[in-house]
Symmetry: C2
Subunit: 135 residues, 2 copies
DNA sequence: ATCCAGATGCAAATGGTTTGCATCTGGATA
DNA sequence: TATCCAGATGCAAACCATTTGCATCTGGAT
């Protein structure tokens, strides 16, 4: 179980290690992929109130423990925040895969120039396609 | 006005050129940036029912006249579909700028390999930063 | 001028997310 | 170990973007 690890992480983030938080964070670590609030509800056997899940995820996000993945309109997904990375989504079955690629520095600099923005801080990059099972 | 151009586009898309559709498409062409349903309501002086706007945008999307931009969770944005491009968003004032950059072919091929997906069809790429006015 | 498939307006429903408030609890303290 | 309370939770209601059912209206073909 990741309960111990989750508790440690909560402590270092200066958050109270409540039953609910440990459970949610351990689940996010175990699944290692973007989960919806509903997903989290199911994985925790509906033992947590929906409002608690939302509030907890927001807290986790502020502390950098999770990051929100906005793939489409509608429901938000959250994943345990590890290394910066991107995703590819199967448009047929919804499967999400991590990608260990990122934008080349040259492109990021190009954006800095072309945008004429004072700062460019982040970017979101997702790919969409059809996985082998869904061909 | 872009009313004439809008009517032409609707005709070539085999869509009936109703008052509402011409108005919406002309607005999207004129603004040339991603607009929310509320934006479109305001720009058209609240003369259109919200349900009509939603249904019209969906129709336009199916015909390739507009594309939906999912920047964050919450409200969807729609823009007149021209060349494939990306955006940078100011996280302070919300301003959205077009970017004429795209991913290098090498990266796209890399994704094809690493993902092990059968097909990779699209991608979404958005940058976030602070514009000069908001520094 | 007539006609009708498809488009619109209105109002109610839906679904994800947020919020107010009473109660509960983690963990600091004595 | 018992006490205590700021902060966390559960519950129910509110909120807000989007969708849907249905009666009425209209673009454009005849
Ligand atoms: Mn991931
Ligand atoms: Mn654009
Ligand atoms: Zn698939
Ligand atoms: Zn700005």
């Amino acid at each position: 179980m990741n309960a111990t690890r989750a508790t440690e992480l909560l402590r270092s983030a200066e958050l109270r290690a409540t039953t609910q938080r440990v459970l949610l964070l351990a689940t996010l670590i175990a699944e290692a992929k973007p989960l919806s609030v509903d997903d989290l509800g199911l994985r925790t056997k509906n033992s947590l109130d929906t409002a608690t899940i939302y509030r907890t995820l927001e807290t986790f996000k502020e502390k950098g423990l999770v990051r929100r993945v906005d793939l489409d309109q509608g429901r938000a997904l959250y994943e345990h925040a590890g290394e910066h990375h991107h995703h590819i989504v199967c448009t047929k079955c919804g499967t999400i895969r991590d990608l260990d690629i990122c934008l080349p520095k040259t492109l990021q600099n190009q954006v800095r120039e072309e945008s004429r923005f004072a700062h460019v801080n982040q970017h979101a990059l997702e790919f969409f396609g059809v996985c082998k099972k869904c061909v």
